[in-house]
C-alpha cells in the first residue's frame, strides 16, 4: 500500500495560527474519512496523508515549504490558505508541476492564468447584490463602511461600494480599521456612528468583527450589519453573547447553522471529531477540497500528474457525493474558481434564516 501526500503550508504559529489550524483540521477530517475506506487509484491501493508545514504567514517561507513538500514529500497538490503565499507559489508551481489549492477569495489568484491553480472559495461578488437588497429594504439607504483593512476586506469594500450606490444608496462614512492590530475600536466605531448610518458594513476575522458590532451597539447603533463572508455569524454570536445584538444583520449562512441534511450531518461529524468546536466554511470548504482532489486523482487515474489531476478537478467537484460537499460546490468556472449555490443568512427574531443566493440573484 502506497501513500499519497497532500501538502499544506499555512500559519500554525503566531497571530494567524487559529486560521491555519482550522483549515488544516478540515483537511485532516477529509483524510481520515478517505482512509477509513479502501482507496484505489489506477488499480493500486493507497493511503492518504496530509503533510503540514508552518509558514507563519510569510510568503517566502511558503515558497520554501512548498518546494520542500514537492521535493521531499512528492506531493502532487498543496493547499495554501493565504494570498501572499499563493502568489509566491505561483511563481514556480507550473514549473515544479504541483497543483496549488488556493484558499483565498482574491480574484487575482486565478486571474493571472496560472494553469495549475484552483481557487477554493466561491467568488464573493455574488453576495453583494443580495446583501444590498436585503439590508436596504430592511433598514434604509445610508451605509457606513467599517470593515477591516486587509486585502480581502478591502476588495470586498471596493466591490460593495459601487453596488450599494447603484442600488440608490449612499455611503455616509468610510473608515476601514485594522481588525487584527488595533487595541480598541471605540474611536473608529464612534467615528462612523456619528454619520448616522442605517447599515454598517463590517467584517474581518469573526471575533474582532464581533467586537466591532458589540461596540457599535454600545454606542447606540440600532441598524443592521452587513457582515462580509470572512466573519461567521455563529462565531460572532459567541463573542457578543447570542444573536440578539446582531438582529437584522446579513452574512453568509454558517455551516453549523445550515439545517439542510448534508451540512447538518457534516456539522455533526465535525463536532464529534472536534468536541466543543463548530465547523466554519474555512473548515468545510477545505474538507471538500481534499475530497475533490482525491476524486480527481481517481478520475485521472494518477496520483502524481498535476496537470491531469487539475483537468479533472471540475468534474470531481461536480460528482462529489453531497455528504462530502456541505457547501454545495458545483464545479469550477473557466479560470479555476469554484462555483457554488451558497445560502446567505439573515438574523431575524433571534434566529439565522437561510436564503439561497441564486434564488435571490435571479429574482433581481
Amino acid at each position: 500500500q502506497e501513500v499519497i501526500k497532500i501538502g499544506f503550508s499555512g500559519p500554525l504559529s503566531g497571530g494567524a495560527a487559529l486560521y491555519g489550524k482550522n483549515v488544516l483540521s478540515g483537511m485532516q477530517m477529509a483524510a481520515a474519512e478517505i482512509n477509513a475506506k479502501p482507496l484505489q487509484i489506477g488499480g493500486k491501493a493507497y493511503k492518504l496523508e496530509i503533510v503540514a508545514l508552518d509558514d507563519k504567514y510569510n510568503p517566502s517561507e511558503t515558497g520554501i515549504n512548498v518546494q520542500r513538500l514537492v521535493q521531499q514529500h512528492k506531493t502532487a497538490a498543496v493547499l495554501v490558505p493565504h494570498s501572499g503565499g499563493i502568489f509566491a507559489v505561483q511563481a514556480f508551481n507550473e514549473k515544479s508541476k504541483v497543483l496549488l489549492l488556493a484558499y483565498t477569495s482574491l480574484p487575482q489568484a486565478t486571474e493571472r492564468g496560472n494553469t495549475l491553480t484552483v481557487r477554493l472559495p466561491p467568488d464573493f461578488t455574488g453576495y453583494i447584490g443580495p446583501f444590498t437588497k436585503a439590508m436596504m429594504a430592511k433598514h434604509g439607504k445610508n451605509v457606513a463602511l467599517a470593515a477591516a483593512d486587509h486585502d480581502y476586506a478591502k476588495a470586498w469594500a471596493a466591490a460593495f461600494k459601487p453596488a450599494w450606490e447603484a442600488a440608490g444608496g449612499k455611503v455616509v462614512a468610510e473608515n476601514p480599521m485594522s481588525y487584527n492590530k488595533a487595541t480598541d475600536f471605540y474611536s473608529g466605531v464612534s467615528r462612523v456612528i456619528q454619520a448616522k448610518p442605517d447599515v454598517l458594513f463590517i467584517g474581518g476575522a469573526s471575533e474582532p468583527t464581533a467586537l466591532v458590532a458589540k461596540q457599535a451597539r454600545e454606542l447606540g447603533f440600532k441598524g443592521g450589519f452587513i457582515i462580509i463572508d470572512q466573519a461567521k455569524i455563529d462565531e460572532m454570536a459567541k463573542v457578543v453573547g447570542g444573536l440578539a445584538p446582531l438582529e437584522g444583520s446579513v452574512g453568509v449562512m454558517p455551516v453549523s447553522g445550515d439545517d439542510r441534511p448534508e451540512p447538518a450531518a457534516f456539522t455533526a461529524r465535525y463536532r464529534k471529531a472536534n468536541p466543543g468546536k463548530d465547523p466554519s466554511s474555512e473548515i468545510s470548504i477545505n474538507y471538500s477540497a481534499v475530497h475533490a482532489t482525491v476524486a480527481a486523482m481517481k478520475l485521472a487515474g494518477t496520483v502524481s500528474d498535476a496537470a491531469a489531476i487539475r483537468a479533472k478537478m471540475g468534474e470531481a467537484f461536480k460528482t462529489l457525493p453531497p455528504e462530502h460537499n456541505p457547501n454545495d460546490i458545483e464545479g469550477l468556472d473557466s479560470k479555476g474558481g469554484t462555483v457554488a449555490n451558497t445560502i446567505i443568512g439573515i438574523v431575524e427574531g433571534g434566529k439565522i434564516k437561510g436564503q439561497f443566493l441564486r434564488a435571490m440573484n435571479t429574482v433581481k
Binding site: 503566531g14 488595533a182 454606542l219
Partner: protein, 287 residues
C-alpha cells in the same frame, strides 16, 4: 461635545492600560537596563491565567485578577532568575534577544496549552451607564479607575517607603546598593514581580473589552516602548504621562484624522519628539 467626551474617555481607557504596561517595562528597564520585549507576552500570560481561573475554574473576576497578578509575577521573577540574572553583565543586545526567546516560548506555550482560538473573558461589569447622551460601559470606567489607583499606589510605594527606595537605588547603582546592605537579588526579583503583576492586572482589566489570544501582547509592547522613551526610561510619572499622550493621540487621531493611520500617529509622535528633544519629554538631566 458628547463625541468629544467619548474620545476623552476612550483616551483615558487606552492611556490607563498603556501606562500600566509601560510602568512595569520602565521599572525593569530602570533597574537592569533590560529592554524586556517579553513584557508583552507577560501581559498575554496575565490574560490567559485569568481566563483560565474565571472561565474554567469559575472564580470571580477579582480573584481572577489576583491570580493573574500572582501568576505573571511568578513568570516574571522566573525570567529574572533564569535568564536576565545570568545575563546581568552582558550588553543590552543580548537581553533583547534573550527576551525575544522568552516571548517566543510564552506565546508558543500559551498556544500549546489553550490553542490558537480567540477567547472571551467574562466580567461582571457589563452595564452601560448613561450620563445624558454619553454612554459609558462600566468596564471602561473600571479600567480608568483601577489603572490610576494602581499608578498612585506604585508612586507612593517608590517614593515613601524604604523598600521602594531600594528599587530606585538599585536602578542607579547596583554595587552601591549592595554596599549599603540592600540585597540586590531580592530587589531585582521584587521589581520583576511588580512589573509582572502590573502587566497581569492591566491585561485582566482590558481583556473583557477585547479578546484573549496569544499575540495580544504585540499590540501593547511596541507602544509601551514608545511610552517609556517619551517619558524617560525609568521614570514613573513619565510612563504615566507618556501612556496618556499615546492613549489620547490614538483616540483623537482615530476619530478626527483616520483610523487607518492612527498607529502611525503614535510612532510619528515619538519620531517627532525625539527629533526635537533627544532625551525624551520628561528626562531631567542625569538619571
Amino acid at each position: 461635545m458628547e463625541l468629544f467626551l467619548q474620545q476623552v474617555l476612550n483616551g483615558l481607557t487606552l492611556g490607563g492600560v498603556y501606562a500600566l504596561v509601560a510602568l512595569g517595562l520602565t521599572l525593569v528597564y530602570g533597574i537592569l537596563h533590560v529592554p524586556n520585549f517579553a513584557h508583552g507576552a507577560f501581559y498575554m500570560a496575565g490574560a490567559y491565567s485569568a481566563f483560565f481561573l474565571i472561565n474554567r475554574l469559575g472564580l470571580n473576576y477579582w480573584w481572577g485578577m489576583l491570580g493573574a497578578a500572582v501568576t505573571v509575577a511568578l513568570i516574571s521573577v522566573l525570567s529574572e532568575r533564569l535568564v536576565f540574572h545570568p545575563l546581568r553583565k552582558a550588553p543590552y543586545l543580548h537581553h533583547m534577544i534573550a527576551s525575544i526567546g522568552i516571548l517566543l516560548f510564552l506565546e508558543a506555550g500559551a498556544q500549546a496549552l489553550w490553542g490558537a482560538d480567540f477567547h472571551r473573558m467574562e466580567t461582571p461589569y457589563t452595564q452601560l451607564l448613561t450620563f445624558g447622551s454619553l454612554t459609558l460601559p462600566a468596564q471602561r470606567l473600571l479600567i480608568i479607575g483601577a489603572a490610576f489607583l494602581l499608578v498612585v499606589l506604585l508612586q507612593l510605594f517608590l517614593t515613601k517607603t524604604i523598600t521602594g527606595a531600594t528599587i530606585v537605588a538599585m536602578a542607579q547603582n547596583r554595587e552601591g546598593a549592595a554596599l549599603v546592605g540592600i540585597d540586590a537579588n531580592r530587589v531585582a526579583m521584587l521589581t520583576f514581580a511588580i512589573a509582572g503583576a502590573l502587566a497581569g492586572m492591566a491585561a485582566v482589566l482590558y481583556a473583557p473589552i477585547n479578546l484573549v489570544y496569544t499575540s495580544m501582547g504585540h499590540l501593547v509592547i511596541t507602544k509601551a516602548f514608545v511610552i517609556i522613551v517619551l517619558g524617560g526610561m525609568g521614570s514613573v510619572p513619565g510612563a504615566i504621562a507618556g501612556g496618556l499622550i499615546i492613549g489620547f493621540a490614538e483616540a483623537f487621531g482615530a476619530f478626527y484624522i483616520s483610523t487607518d493611520y492612527k498607529d502611525i500617529i503614535a510612532f510619528a509622535l515619538l519620531v517627532l519628539i525625539l527629533s526635537v528633544r533627544p532625551q525624551g519629554l520628561f528626562a531631567r538631566g542625569a538619571h
